[in-house]
């Protein structure tokens, strides 16, 4: 055991550091129970703008909604405190594979169409780079 630790000390330190940094970042980014808004950001020629803000806390029954992003239709499913993409014309369908999100730690990002769905608190300031 000691020989194993000595032999792979550098690797163990590296892996431990990565775990520590990741856990620290998770704590910093930790969402709060007040995260209730789904903000849809869209990248356009004029820059990034907010397409829509949906108050998820007021949703009682789940429903589907279509939004148009840069001329393409994306279908969302919205339920109480959660949202997901169920259909999109992008190539990789990463946004669909991400499934439900109800936490700001897990924004839905579609690089092909250039939109992001972020869960935030009702009083969060918009952060756009």
């Amino acid at each position: 055991m000691i020989n194993f630790l000595k032999k792979y000390l550098k690797e163990i330190i590296l892996i431990g550091s990565i775990c520590l940094v990741s856990l620290t970042l998770l704590l910093i980014f930790k969402g709060k129970s007040e995260d209730v808004n789904a903000t849809i950001y869209v990248k356009t020629d004029e820059g990034t703008k907010i397409l829509e803000v949906i108050d998820l806390s007021k949703v009682t029954n789940s429903y589907e909604k279509e939004i148009v992003i840069n001329g393409k239709t994306v279908k969302l499913e919205i339920k109480h405190n959660a949202i997901r993409v169920i259909d999109a014309p992008c190539k990789h369908k990463d946004c669909i594979n991400q499934g439900w999100t109800s936490n700001k730690n897990k924004p839905i990002i579609c690089l092909d169409l250039g939109y992001t769905i972020v869960i935030s608190r009702a009083d969060d300031a918009d952060v756009v780079v």
Binding site: S22, L26, Y41, I109, D112, V118, V128
Partner: protein, 173 residues
């Protein structure tokens, strides 16, 4: 001399072919829900080249692999191409620097470092594309996933490096 050069060229060509095949096969594996996260099988070849060949040879394999796979998949000059390029370049620089600063660093160490830097490169491109800082929320998950992927590619590359053909052609001989 000429025989050795020909042997080296053929080996590099075979490594490039392997990198392309691994890159293509990887694209068939569905993502696990976090955009851009892959096992990184093609990086096995890049890691071997960085450590065992000259920097311009391994750089050429990296660029050609990214270019050819993007052409095969039809993603050339699209977002995923730039993500792959940014991640690949940053990973290459980090792995190259680590391999040169110390001979005592293992394949696993360099591979995990490469995997982390690859992910960071992709996050930077995602930040530029979406212009929203929320892409950083994926960073902890991507860093944690870099550990098993880097470990796997590092172990495989280490085993391959012990093959006779790699020892014959290694720059370190």
């Amino acid at each position: 001399m000429r025989h050795q050069w020909t042997k080296r060229l053929v080996t590099l060509s075979l490594l490039l072919a392997m990198a392309i095949i691994l890159g293509y096969l990887e694209s068939l594996i569905p993502s696990i829900g976090i955009p851009g996260v892959k096992i990184g099988l093609a990086n096995i070849v890049i890691l071997l080249c960085v450590i065992n060949f000259k920097w311009y040879e391994s750089f050429a394999i990296l660029i050609l692999r990214i270019l050819i796979v993007s052409l095969i998949l039809g993603t050339f000059l699209q977002v995923s191409f730039f993500m792959s390029l940014a991640g690949g370049l940053l990973s290459f620089v980090v792995m190259f620097v680590l391999s040169k600063i110390s001979n005592n660093l293992s394949y696993v160490f360099i591979s995990i470092s490469g995997a982390i830097s690859h992910s960071i490169g992709q996050i930077i491109v995602a930040l530029i594309v979406t212009s929203t800082v929320e892409v950083f929320y994926y960073l902890p998950f991507i860093l944690l996933l870099s550990i098993p992927t880097g470990l796997l590619t590092g172990i495989i590359a280490n085993r391959i490096s012990k093959l006779k053909v790699m020892e014959d052609l290694s720059e370190k001989e």
